[in-house]
Structures are given as structure tokens and as C-alpha cells.
């Protein structure tokens, strides 16, 4: 619970100080009038709504994972003699490498889309998606190994392992859905990079974020494994 607590506190602090404090100290009853009509004017909010929406979604997902991690630690703390740590399958290291490569692929696509090189965008996207798929297969492999070594759902530590990796995997699957739609739009010949730029940007942010979540989860699991 303290993890989610810290998260909420940090988030609230950031929002209040960074975004609002300047605006929330004005005296609206004293000021009348409107700024000049010029959408390109400095000071105008020009961040695309989709990007803002994605960042808010990331905050929600962070809340979700912080709560899962809090639950993990609290369940461990409340355990009455039934907690036996899991010996993590080694394949997880390989999977982590795959996910880093996947993020690298997306980053390459992002760099290419900014330079308007659509060929490299395609290569980057395909690499990013494929490595992500390999990661997911690797995670299933890890499940199998764990199951074969006798860690079933009845063991709470193993149940948490399955649960946390599954929730992370589901989020990656959601990302792959958006990725596939982006790829379909990027494949036709003669398409301009600008047409998929926003989608590639959003996908890349999401990919890096899920990599970060995985690294945190992996660190938490490693530090509490057998």
C-alpha cells in the first residue's frame, strides 16, 4: 500500500506544483478579456489530445501496477507460514533482453519517422513488434518451466508470479493491437511518414513504459525470489 501511496503523493505533487500553481493563484473575478485569436501563438496548448490521453492512461496503469506490487508485499507480510519464494526461471533474463530489443526497434522507428524515412519506419516497427511477440512467448515458456518445477497456483508466491506477468502481458497485447493497426497503415507503398508519425510516437512511448514496468516487476520478483 505504501508504494501506491508514494505514487499518488508524487503524482499529486507534480500536478499541483508543475501545472496548476501558477494558474490557480490568479484572481478570475478581477480579470476580464480574452487573449488574441492566434492558434499558433506561444502559450497555446499544442500537445495533441491523443498524447495527453496516453499519459493519463499511463498514470492509471501505474496506479494499477503499484497496487498489484503493494498487494504482493502485503500478502508476503501477512503470510502465516505458507509463503515459499519462487526460484525464477532463467529464461526471464532472455525475455528481458527481448523486450529491450523490442523497445529499441520502436525507438528506431520513431527516429526514422522523424527523419521521414518510411522504409526504416517499417523495419523498426516490425522488429519492435516481433521482439515483443518473442518476449510474450518467452513469458509463456517461463510459466511452463515454473509449472514443471512444481510451482502451482496454490503457492501464493507462484500465483503472484503468474498474475503479475499475466497483467503485464495483457497490457503488451493491447499495445500489439495498436501496433498492428499502425503497421497496416505503414505498409502500403507510397505512404508518407507523416501519416503514421503520431501513431509511432504513441506506440513508442507505450513500449518504453511497458519496458520500465517490466524492469520494475522483474526487480521486485528477483529481490524476493528463492
Amino acid at each position: 500500500m505504501s508504494v501506491s501511496f508514494a505514487f499518488v503523493a508524487v503524482l499529486v505533487g507534480l500536478v499541483v506544483w508543475g501545472l496548476l500553481i501558477r494558474r490557480l493563484t490568479t484572481r478570475p473575478w478581477e480579470t476580464r478579456g480574452a487573449p488574441p485569436e492566434d492558434p499558433g501563438h506561444a502559450g497555446t496548448v499544442t500537445v495533441p489530445p491523443a498524447k495527453v490521453g496516453l499519459w493519463i492512461l499511463l498514470a492509471v496503469i501505474t496506479s494499477l501496477f503499484s497496487l498489484f506490487i503493494s498487494a504482493y508485499y502485503m500478502r508476503m507480510g501477512h503470510a502465516h507460514g505458507d509463503w515459499s519464494p519462487v526460484a525464477l526461471p532463467r529464461v526471464l533474463w532472455l525475455n528481458t533482453a527481448m523486450l529491450i530489443l523490442s523497445s529499441g526497434g520502436m525507438q528506431a522507428a520513431l527516429a526514422a519517422v522523424r527523419r521521414e524515412q518510411i522504409d526504416r519506419v517499417r523495419i523498426g516497427l516490425i522488429a519492435g513488434g516481433l521482439f515483443a511477440l518473442v518476449f510474450l512467448v518467452g513469458q509463456l515458456w517461463a510459466w511452463r518451466q515454473l509449472n514443471e518445477t512444481g510451482y502451482f497456483l496454490s503457492s501464493p508466491a507462484a500465483a503472484f508470479f503468474y498474475l503479475l506477468t499475466a497483467v503485464h502481458g495483457v497490457h503488451l497485447l493491447g499495445g500489439l493491437f495498436v501496433w498492428s493497426r499502425t503497421l497496416v497503415r505503414a505498409v502500403p507503398a507510397g505512404i508518407a511518414a507523416i501519416a503514421v508519425r503520431s501513431s509511432v510516437e504513441l506506440c513508442t512511448v507505450y513500449w518504453h513504459y511497458l519496458l520500465l514496468v517490466w524492469l520494475v516487476l522483474f526487480a521486485v520478483l528477483l529481490s524476493t525470489s528463492a
Binding site: V12, T26, W29, P39, T44, P49, R75, P156, S198
Partner: protein
């Protein structure tokens, strides 16, 4: 960049053409708002019916043979869950949030209209799954709306097999729907305000809805986590929450799980949930009071800061629901302190409401009656909250009717009064016709006084020690006959109040075709939703040009002005001081 900032437009490229795209698969925030509201009220009426059945049992025990003890538990559970989540949360955010945010911010629509549409249909699915639990083997869960394990999933509790799982699934679906809607509401407020609409020119309704949505986005994941883990406990035999319990003589199927963990997770969502319901009510009631008292809201900036403070504090008080759970008692003192601290910003709001009325030109219109009724009821409910926030007082009262009376006053009746006030207030904009005033007054007085007849005696029952959640009382010497008579009185009052709502429903239906035409701004209000070129507003809200905002939302009775209100989109008069506000940039209507 894949988006274009379109402030004004000459044509309407995406206007819906057919009946289906206009009213069913609609992406228009106003239609989605009505869909949300109608669905929420429909399932809310089911919950109202359940409370009537419960009251019949409590007032006249053993008279109605169709209400068995397990039915009674199921009614309690479903009544609570529906009212809190599927009615109030959905109605305030999905209903009023959807309708008011784009109109009050001066936007054409939500920034993600397709996701907004999806949000409603997923919400409807959640409601249908919930309603389906009435028809599955074993019926709906009877675990109480808090769904505490282990009893929620153990045999002996009604609906322990199908009911509880479908309830958890329905909640998970609801959270998905809420997240899609919530992303829209927040992003729209941040990104789609019209020119001149600074944060501090937003009406408090938008502030309340915005803060509630942020709370929901951060708190609902806790419910999702607990729902997922309990589903796994129930279906796959994990032991997240379920301890080793010998159930009905069978050996334990689980080991070592922590029921307390569930309670922490549940209330980490559950307490912010109180404010998810309360903050929109706070915001809306501020606007009702200001408009109908023809006076600017007192301490506007303080009201905004109080909303922020309540929002932040609501995350650090959850364990005051768990004083009797067996958690570390020192925890209790920490949470009692934070609970009492949250009374400070709340009291600031109450003082400001009252001071808004002070020397105002008060019009006792129907929305105003409901708004004032809210202040009374909220103070009543809030004061008993001060009792219950203290560990030593809460422990003996926690399992009694005192708590039932407290939370019904503070988060049942209070927000519902605001809902009624808001419907009387905005119905003219939504439909173009006024609701019947006489029927409205009858509805207000009978509902307001009736709810006091229901809930005031419950405080007395609670202090006597009458336990809540019980189906019937027998052989209990400490409960005097007067308590039984109080229960009869409460039941009669409850039946009466429930029947009075038919007047309201009749008014809603009858006024749709027979109400007095409202005109565009019947309450002579300043906020943008009353300044639309059409009433009801058409798709796109603003015709060819987006509005421009020149002033805050509360220019009522400005000295020297021709009328007692100046709408937000009226430029400064020659004599008025004209100072462009700091940070005055809106987002210039980025709905593309």
C-alpha cells in the same frame, strides 16, 4: 502532427445522418450523456425497489414470506453496489460529466468521441452482467456491498458460486468503461477549452467532475486488483485473500490468504469512491446556489483549492472504514487524524455555500430548494461523520444503524438531492422545456422531509445498539419496543418517499411534450452551456463559431451592469476594467 486545431468551421463533416448513428451508436456527448443517465436511473430504480423490499421486512418482519433471510442479504448487497457505483458514479460522471464538460468548457464534443461511445456501451454491458446475477443459479451475491472475503466466496453466503463471480466480472467491466470515459473527461478539460477559458474561469461543476474523475482513474484500479485476485481465489484456487477455513466441515481448500489485504485494497478504492460521488455534487451545487441566489460564489478560488485538498486527502483516510477489522490500533489513530483533517476543506466549502446565500437575491426555484436541502443534509451527515471518524466512538457504533444513517445522509440523500436539483436545473437545456414547477415543489418537500423521517430515527436505533445487516430481531432484550415502532415508522416513510419519486418520473415524461418552452437561458445564467445558439444544442454545440470567454463564471449582480448577470462570452463593457488574464490560453478547440 496528426491533428489539426479546428476552432471554427463552416460545415459539419461528421454530423450523424441516420437514426442509428444519431441516437444509438452516437458519438455525440449529449446523446451519450442521456444514454448514461437513463441506464443509470433505470438500474437505480431496481435498487430503490430492493430497498423497499428490505424495509418491508424490517418494518413488518415475518409478514412477507417471499423475503427469505438469504434474499434479504442479497437485497442489501445489490442495493448498495448499484446505488454507489452503477447509479451515482455513472450518473454524475457519465451523465452530467458527459453533458456538461464540453458545453461548459466551450468545446464541440469530447476529444475522443468514439471512445466515449464505447464507454457507454461497455457500461451497459456491466449493468447487464450485474442484472444477470438475479437470474443465475443461487442468485446474486449476498456478501454485502463490500464483498469481504472469505465469506463472499464460501458456501453458506448467498450467491457464493455464480453471483460473486459475475459481480466481480461486472465491476471489472465497469472499470474499463469508466477508464475510457474518464480519459475523455480529463483530456477534454485539459485540451479542449475554448479561447479565454482559463482554469480559474471554469465553473465549479467542471472542477468537481474533473477532480472526481481523477480520483476515479487512480482509485478504481484498486477495485480492479481486488476483483481480479478474488476471482482467481474463487475460480482457480489461489490463496490471495482466502485463509485456511474449515467450511461446512470440509477441510480447508485454501491456505494463508489475507482477508485484511482485501479490505485495504477495497477501501483504498472505497473511500475515494465517496468523494467520486461527492465532488461532482459539491461542484454542481455551487453553481445552482450561485445562479439561483444571483450572487457570485463566495470564495471561488478557495472552493477550487478545497476540491483539490479533499481529493488528495481522500487517499489517506481509507482505513477509517476498518477500525474494527483487527488491524494495528496505532494505524487507527493515524487515520482518525487524517479523517478529521479532511473536515477542514469540507467545512470551508459549507461555509462558502452559506456565505454565497448571505445577502443574495434568493429565488426559491425548485433547483434552489434541492441545493439548500443538500446543505442541510450534508451538514447532518457530516457531523455524524465526526463521531464515526474517532476510533473509540466508532468501535461500538460501527455495526449499528448509526452508520447506516450516517452514510445514507452524507453520500445517499445528499448527492441524490443534488442530482434532482441538477435535473430540474438543466432539463430545460437538455429538452428545451421546463419541468412542471408545482410538481417539482411537491417532489422536493415530500422527498426532503420524508428522508429525514427515514434517517433521523435510525440514529436513535444505532445508539440503542440495534445491529445493521440483520434480517430480523428476536429475543434481544436490549432492543426496546420503541425500536420496533421506529422501524415501522421508517418503513412507512420509506414506502412513501419511494412512491413520491413517481411524481418526479411523471414530471420528466409529461414535461417532455407538455412543459413550458424554456427558451435558451431560462435561469438567466452566466455559464457557457446556456449561451448555445440552439436549445437543445445541436451536434457540434456552437454552430459555426466557437465561443470566446471574457470573464469568470460568476458575474451575477455586478454593480452598474444592465442586467443581474453577464454571460461568460460577453466582452467587457467600455467602462469595465479589461485585463487579459494570466495564462489565459485555452486549447483553442482541438476537437478535429
Amino acid at each position: 502532427m496528426a491533428y489539426v486545431a479546428i476552432a471554427d468551421r463552416d460545415h459539419a463533416p461528421h454530423d450523424p445522418q441516420t437514426f442509428v448513428t444519431k441516437y444509438i451508436w452516437s458519438q455525440d456527448h449529449k446523446v451519450i450523456a442521456i444514454q448514461y443517465a437513463v441506464t443509470a436511473i433505470a438500474i437505480g430504480l431496481v435498487a430503490l425497489g430492493l430497498s423497499v423490499l428490505m424495509r418491508l421486512q424490517l418494518g413488518f418482519p415475518h409478514v412477507f414470506s417471499l423475503i427469505a433471510p438469504n434474499n434479504y442479504l442479497q437485497f442489501i448487497t445489490m442495493h448498495g453496489m448499484i446505488m454507489v457505483i452503477y447509479l451515482l458514479t455513472a450518473l454524475f460522471l457519465g451523465g452530467f460529466g458527459n453533458y456538461l464538460i464540453p458545453l461548459m468548457c466551450g468545446a464541440r464534443d469530447m476529444v475522443f468521441p468514439y471512445m466515449n461511445m464505447l464507454s457507454y456501451w461497455v457500461y451497459l454491458l456491466a449493468v447487464l452482467v450485474l442484472a444477470a446475477t438475479f437470474f443465475v443459479p443461487g442468485g446474486p451475491t449476498g456478501a454485502g456491498w463490500t464483498l469481504y472475503p472469505p465469506q463472499a466466496v464460501l458456501p453458506g453466503t448467498p450467491g457464493a458460486s455464480w453471483g460473486i463471480v459475475l459481480m466481480l466480472v461486472s465491476l471489472a467491466i465497469f472499470i474499463v468503461a469508466f477508464t475510457m470515459g474518464g480519459l475523455n473527461y480529463v483530456t477534454t478539460v485539459l485540451q479542449a477549452r475554448c479561447r479565454g477559458m482559463t482554469f480559474l474561469r471554469l465553473p465549479l461543476s467542471v472542477w468537481g467532475i474533473l477532480m472526481a474523475t481523477i480520483l476515479g482513474l487512480l482509485a478504481f484500479p484498486a477495485l480492479l486488483v481486488s476483483a481480479v485476485m478474488m476471482t482467481l481465489d474463487s475460480l482457480l484456487g489461489t490463496s490471495f485473500f482466502l485463509p485456511a477455513v474449515v467450511s461446512m466441515g470440509n477441510p480447508p481448500t485454501h491456505n494463508g490468504g489475507s482477508p485484511l489485504l482485501f479490505q485495504h485494497l477495497f477501501w483504498f478504492f472505497g473511500h475515494p469512491e465517496v468523494y467520486i460521488v461527492a465532488l461532482p455534487a459539491f461542484g454542481i451545487v455551487s453553481d445552482l446556489l450561485s445562479t439561483h441566489a444571483r450572487r457570485h460564489i463566495f470564495g471561488y478560488r478557495m472552493m477550487v483549492w478545497a476540491l483539490l485538498a479533499i481529493g488528495c486527502l481522500s487517499f489517506v483516510v481509507w482505513a477509517h472504514h476498518m477500525y474494527v477489522s483487527g488491524m494495528n490500533p496505532y494505524f487507527g489513530f493515524f487515520f482518525a487524524t487524517t479523517t478529521l483533517i479532511i473536515a477542514v476543506p469540507t467545512a470551508i466549502k459549507v461555509y462558502n455555500w452559506v456565505l454565497t446565500l448571505w445577502r443574495g437575491d434568493i429565488h426559491f426555484s425548485v433547483p434552489m430548494l434541492f441545493a439548500i436541502g443538500f446543505i442541510f443534509t450534508f451538514i447532518n451527515g457530516g457531523l455524524t461523520g465526526l463521531f464515526l471518524g474517532n476510533v473509540t466512538v466508532d468501535v461500538p457504533l460501527s455495526a449499528t444503524y448509526f452508520v447506516v444513517a450516517h452514510f445514507h445522509m452524507v453520500m445517499g440523500v445528499s448527492p441524490i438531492l443534488v442530482v434532482f436539483g441538477a435535473i430540474y436545473h438543466w432539463y430545460p437545456k437538455i429538452t428545451g422545456r421546463m419541468l412542471n414547477e408545482t410538481l417539482g415543489r411537491i417532489h422536493f418537500w415530500l422527498t426532503f422531509l420524508g428522508t429525514y423521517a427515514i434517517y433521523l430515527p435510525m440514529h436513535y436505533l444505532g445508539i440503542l445498539g440495534v445491529p445493521r445487516r440483520y434480517y430480523a430481531f428476536a429475543g434481544t432484550d436490549f432492543i426496546p419496543p420503541s425500536a420496533h415502532w421506529a422501524n415501522v415508522g421508517i418503513t412507512v416513510a420509506a414506502l412513501f418517499v419511494a412512491a413520491v419519486q413517481l411524481v418526479f418520473l411523471f414530471n420528466l415524461a409529461w414535461s417532455l411534450s407538455h412543459g413550458k418552452p424554456a427558451g435558451s437561458n431560462p435561469w438567466r445564467s452566466t455559464t457557457l452551456e446556456w449561451q448555445t445558439p440552439d436549445t437543445p444544442p445541436k451536434h457540434g454545440n456552437w454552430g459555426a463559431q466557437l465561443p470566446v470567454v471574457y470573464r469568470w463564471a460568476y458575474d451575477y449582480s455586478v454593480p452598474g451592469a444592465k442586467e443581474d448577470f453577464i454571460p461568460q462570452n460577453v466582452p467587457p463593457e467600455p467602462g469595465e476594467p479589461s485585463v487579459a488574464p494570466m495564462g489565459a490560453e485555452g486549447a483553442h478547440g482541438t476537437t478535429s
